[in-house]
Symmetry: C2
Subunit: 211 residues, 2 copies
DNA sequence: TGTACATCAGTGAACGCGCGTTCACTGATGTAC
DNA sequence: TGTACATCAGTGAACGCGCGTTCACTGATGTAC
């Protein structure tokens, strides 16, 4: 069936010129993801857009999936970082209630971070659709979920149960669903979607914490 | 930038043999979506798998996006039908409360319907990732959302406000997010995800209806 | 019921193109003395 | 500071392959009389 694909990068860029080339490849790939889509993107197109020859690209990446992988991993890292920053800022507050009153901020900041990356939405969608890359997104969401569950447990002074883990996981994907909808469906006002998304999550945790 | 792609089908199959061929093309495409993914699928592969020559495929579809479109549209129709059936069954009940107590059933039935279609998850993911097909999924979700909003409004004897529309839209994508997570993340028990997803939606509407 | 004809369904062969990937290479940059 | 050398970065040319698409065609099915 589906044979494994090498996703790791090859030579790391060492000199300044090489670092610029490397970043250029990623930026070009992001542009092309928007312009032609995952099914049409190719190493040839990426190299042409980046103003280098194809073998120069192969110096850093073993294949085109590896380029998408690098792009996707960077996007996930940025989203994870937004969560970590938000959490550190809100967890110092009085307690769990204050945390959930800040959910809108979290959604908005993640939304902004995805919007700030050119092709951000297309990158996330590619991670979903391309099988060898799916674990990148899933791992990121699992990580955020388990950090979230652990922090809640600490704040409450309770153990991290399987139940709590699942609630956290459902929360994370609910949040991302709103963010992606806000980005992809032009027919609906983004802020309203994020506001309602935050409300959904707040009500959910009010109920969990009440029991 | 992105030029429009013809998605409509060409000749409709008329004879029995042709209908079998047509269905065979769709079934083969679904299999290949699972085996090789959207970025690798091609008219050549589909025709080979279906046991026909490529020009036979071109008799019915103008290009490969049109095949994916037919597959995706059929999947969306089936999901919409699940919603319609569920709604008709639950709306005859005493009122709005009974409706929301059946949300788990709706999620489970939609989950089952997607699982029953070979490559169901991959089809939905393709609709997301391939630009010319994105409207198929968005239109379907918008349709379900507005039917939902309208029905709620009728049950309450109130008008369909923009606010209500957005709540319904957020609800729909929240529900589908749980279904997709249940299908794609093997590390989490599907029933638990759907159960919590249903709880999220129920709590949300309790709050909306209370105000 | 038989057959001639019209329409529908599918084939074989061919096309030009862009794909991913590799090779031996030239040129640019850094560093040891 | 100058220069020889090692390493790093990128090139030009080439390859075989599968892609999407079209053509003129044969074969299968349906129907009018």
């Amino acid at each position: 069936m589906r044979q494994p694909v090498e996703l790791l990068e090859k030579n790391r860029p060492r000199q300044d010129r090489a670092k610029r080339t490397y970043e250029n490849i990623l930026a070009s790939a992001a542009e092309l993801l928007v312009e032609v889509g995952v099914e049409r993107i190719s190493t040839n197109l990426i190299a042409e857009r980046a103003g280098i020859t194809v073998p120069a690209l192969y110096r850093y990446f073993p294949n085109k999936y590896s380029v998408l992988h690098a792009l996707g991993a960077a996007m996930m890292d940025r989203q994870n970082q937004v969560f970590a920053d938000w959490f550190n800022e809100h967890a110092s507050d009085v307690g769990v209630d204050a945390l959930f009153s800040g959910v809108y901020d979290l959604l908005k900041q993640t939304y902004d971070a995805t919007l700030a990356q050119p092709g951000g939405l297309e990158i996330v969608q590619s991670l979903r659709a391309v099988a060898p890359l799916q674990e990148v997104r899933l791992e990121s969401h699992r990580l955020v979920a388990s950090q979230f569950a652990q922090s809640i447990a600490e704040l409450l002074g309770e153990p991290v149960t399987e139940e709590l883990q699942i609630c956290a996981r459902v929360t994370v994907d609910t949040g991302y669903a709103q963010i992606e909808m806000a980005l992809e469906d032009q027919s609906v006002p983004p802020e309203a979607v994020l506001r309602e998304g935050a409300r959904v999550i707040r009500l959910y945790w009010q109920d969990i914490l009440a029991s």
